[in-house]
């Protein structure tokens, strides 16, 4: 079941297309990675699925309803640019944000306190935000995003500004939310977090979709071209085989890319066995990081 269905969204600012015909689905209970370089149109897309902006054309359906203001109470949104009232006390602030999401005063108070102690900052409830460290402010912001128990959560760079311990704590909470059946969109530039956490992903660039699907499938689609070999012998042999190019080499290892139209991995093994001793032969999936760079820079190149 899809919680969010985005169809043919176009959003222009003047003559500039921030989103140009974008469509995707976010299935229920999954963590969905929304990726793209700076200025790709991610924030514009997020603002439309939080009903802050209206698309010029196309449709957005959330929980089987056309996007409308009532749906906002069931959305939790952590913007990339964090925003808190610096001079308002932590608890007071959380109650306010909770009430804006439709909670009653007492319910907001209860949940804010619960989350504050859950994230280990209960002692700071009565302090003004400006007295808190950046990490603590991030926690407060995080609480304001999820305290009203939304079923649909959008987190834009949720782990920036956290130390490794707190990053792990927050990651754990996000995974817990997923396990409770919440649907989460995670927008980040940190690719290994996407690999660790996301089930599905969408990569957009210059307002258009360039890559989408299940994260491991995406990686597989890009994989198999790179082969990692541990061997004993002269690395010169690799250069002589047609269709093979060396990406990386050390004394005893080499990482190569092969052109599948010229040579297949099994054929390569047969050729190598006669010339060097092979200890390890591994087809290697590229990391999302590499895929990101490859896709985005290829697109830049083709546009120029």
């Amino acid at each position: 079941m899809n919680v969010l269905e985005v169809r043919n969204i176009i959003k222009k600012f003047g003559d500039y297309y921030a989103n140009n015909d974008i469509s995707f689905d976010v299935p229920q209970g999954k963590i969905f990675g929304l990726l793209g370089p700076n200025g790709a149109g991610k924030t514009t897309m997020i603002r439309m699925i939080t009903n802050i902006l209206m698309p010029d054309s196309g449709s957005i359906t959330l929980f089987d309803q056309q996007m409308n203001p009532e749906l906002q109470n069931n959305i939790g949104y952590l913007p990339e640019e964090r925003g808190l009232y610096k001079k308002v006390k932590v608890l007071e602030q959380l109650i306010y944000f909770g009430r804006l999401k439709g909670l009653s005063h007492s319910e907001a108070n209860k949940r804010a306190k619960m989350w504050l102690s859950h994230l280990d900052i209960a002692d700071w409830a009565g302090k003004k935000v400006q007295e808190l460290s950046k990490g603590m402010q991030q926690k407060v912001q995080f609480i304001s995003t999820i305290m009203h128990d939304p079923d649909f959560i959008i987190l834009d760079e949720p782990f920036s500004g956290f130390d490794p311990v707190n990053t792990e704590l927050l990651q754990k909470i996000v995974i817990e939310l997923k396990e409770q059946g919440k649907t989460i969109i995670l927008s980040t530039h940190v690719m290994h977090q996407v690999e660790q956490m996301c089930d599905e992903m969408l990569l957009i660039d210059k307002g258009q979709v360039v890559l989408s699907g299940n994260v491991s499938e995406v990686k597989r689609g890009f994989g198999r071209n790179n082969i990692f070999i541990e061997f004993n012998g002269s690395s010169a042999v690799f250069q002589k085989i047609p269709g093979v190019s060396i990406i990386n080499k050390t004394e005893n290892t080499v990482e190569i890319a092969i052109d599948k139209s010229i040579i297949s991995p099994p054929k390569l093994i047969r050729e190598l066995v006669e010339k060097v001793d092979i200890y390890k032969f591994d087809t290697k999936e590229p990391s999302l990081h590499e895929i990101f760079i490859e896709v985005v820079s290829k697109k830049e190149g083709s546009n120029e």
């Binding site: 009903n51 802050i52 203001p69 964090r82 804006l100 439709g102």
Partner: protein, 428 residues
């Protein structure tokens, strides 16, 4: 649902303002400072006046003028036992502070010499000496011309005009036009002051929320129009609270000031009560009816909303307060401009200029209360103005909401007026 969110925003903005240091200072300390500013100069004057301990001799060759001068301040002036040369020498040696020399032809020529060792003697010294001499010499001259002082006094008696108005029912009532006009002036000025002050607060609150990036969080929960409207109402209520506090405080101070202090200290004494009432009776109470108060409130509320929403729109368009200065200029000018009509409005509330200017909706909040108090306006004229005000109110809020909606999400370069107009057209 949405209504309760507006209420949440209103109460949040209201409390935020109420708890802010600026508000507390403005409410409690500002009036104290104002009072201090008014009282202190008087204290300083009194303190310095005591300082004048000069010894000045009066040498009067006419023999009739010195008495008035000496009587005016016996501590300073005394009749000179010395002649002119002796006085000059003693002043030179600083044995005396100075002398006044009036030659025998002083009444005709009007020339008096003041010689002091240090020179000058201060403006207040010269002023008081001048006025003392003036009246003395004047009456002396009149006496010489054979004019009786009593005749003169009778001729100079003030003229009093009693204004009465005859109502439709044929009743003749005392008309307290002047006091009503003064009250109208105060109300008009109050609107001017409040619109500028609280409009500015709305502007800063909007910029603050945008600069701190809070707006995106709130916009993902509440409609932009509700955010803007809630903020304007919340700050408006805080303003009203402040004004109410001042009104109550000043009436308390007025009461204490008017009644003898013992009354306040030791309960009400019948006789003193009467004294207080007599005092009150001396200030003619203008007959302000409920419609006038309603009119003032109407123009205060619509005026505040019109300008506060314009300020909110401007605040939404910029990233920081400095950038707002240029954009807010025209709005501030529109508030200040009607102040120039105020004086003529009071002296001539029925002139064409007054009628036209007071009907211009952006001027009405300041000028209409003045006219309403200064003259009895026909109902239809007020009705037309009120309809225009309500129309302008909806118009400006609509325009402001469109700018606000686009503006709060825009960061980067400061927009021009042209761009703002584009936003109004663009916004959906």
């Amino acid at each position: 649902m949405s209504n309760s969110k507006i209420m949440t925003i209103i109460s949040h903005e209201y409390m935020l303002k109420l708890k802010s240091k600026g508000f507390l200072i403005g409410t409690f300390i500002a009036p104290v400072l104002m009072a201090a500013l008014m009282i202190l100069p008087t204290f300083i004057m009194m303190a310095t006046e005591d300082d004048i301990s000069k010894k000045i001799y009066v040498l009067d060759e006419t023999g009739i003028l010195y008495n008035d001068i000496v009587q005016s301040d016996t501590a300073i002036y005394s009749k000179s036992p010395y002649n002119l040369d002796e006085l000059k020498e003693k002043t030179q040696n600083q044995e005396i502070d100075g002398y006044i020399y009036m030659p025998s032809n002083v009444i005709k020529e009007g020339k008096v010499e003041v010689n002091t060792s240090g020179g000058g003697g201060g403006i207040s010294f010269i002023q008081s000496l001048k006025s003392t001499l003036k009246s003395t010499i004047r009456s002396e001259r009149l006496k010489n011309e054979g004019i009786d002082l009593q005749t003169l006094e009778d001729a100079g008696k003030g003229i009093e005009i009693i204004t009465k108005k005859i109502s439709k029912e044929g009743k003749v009532e005392e008309d307290n036009n002047e006091i009503l006009a003064a009250v109208g002036f105060i109300f008009g000025f109050a609107n001017y002051f409040l619109m500028l002050m609280y409009g500015g607060m709305v502007l800063r609150a909007v910029i603050d929320e945008k600069a701190n990036r809070i707006i995106e969080v709130i916009a993902s929960s509440v409609k932009p129009f509700d955010i803007m409207f809630g903020k304007i109402v919340g700050i408006g209520l805080a303003g009203l609270t402040q004004v109410m506090f001042w009104i109550i405080m000043s009436s308390v101070v007025l009461m204490i000031g008017l009644s003898p202090s013992e009354t306040v200290m030791s309960g009400v004494d019948a006789e003193q009560m009467q004294q207080a009432q007599v005092l009150f009776g001396q200030i003619p109470m203008p007959d302000i009816n409920i419609w006038m108060i309603f009119g003032f409130l109407f123009y205060f509320i619509t005026g505040y909303f019109i300008f506060a929403s314009l300020y909110a729109a401007i605040g939404s368009a910029v990233d920081q307060e400095q950038d707002a200065q240029q954009l807010q200029m025209p709005v501030t000018m529109i508030i200040i401009l009607p102040m120039m009509f105020l004086a003529s409005m009071i002296s001539n509330p029925e002139s064409t200029v007054a009628v036209v200017a007071s009907h211009f909706p952006l001027f009405s909040p300041i000028l209409m209360p003045v006219r309403m108090f200064a003259t009895s306006m026909p109902m239809w004229e007020i009705a037309i103005s009120m309809v225009a005000m309500i129309g302008t109110f909806f118009g400006t809020v609509w325009i402001a909401a469109r700018v606000y909606r686009v503006g709060i999400l825009m960061t980067g370069k400061k927009p021009s007026f042209k761009e703002l107009i584009k936003w109004i057209k663009l916004a959906k």
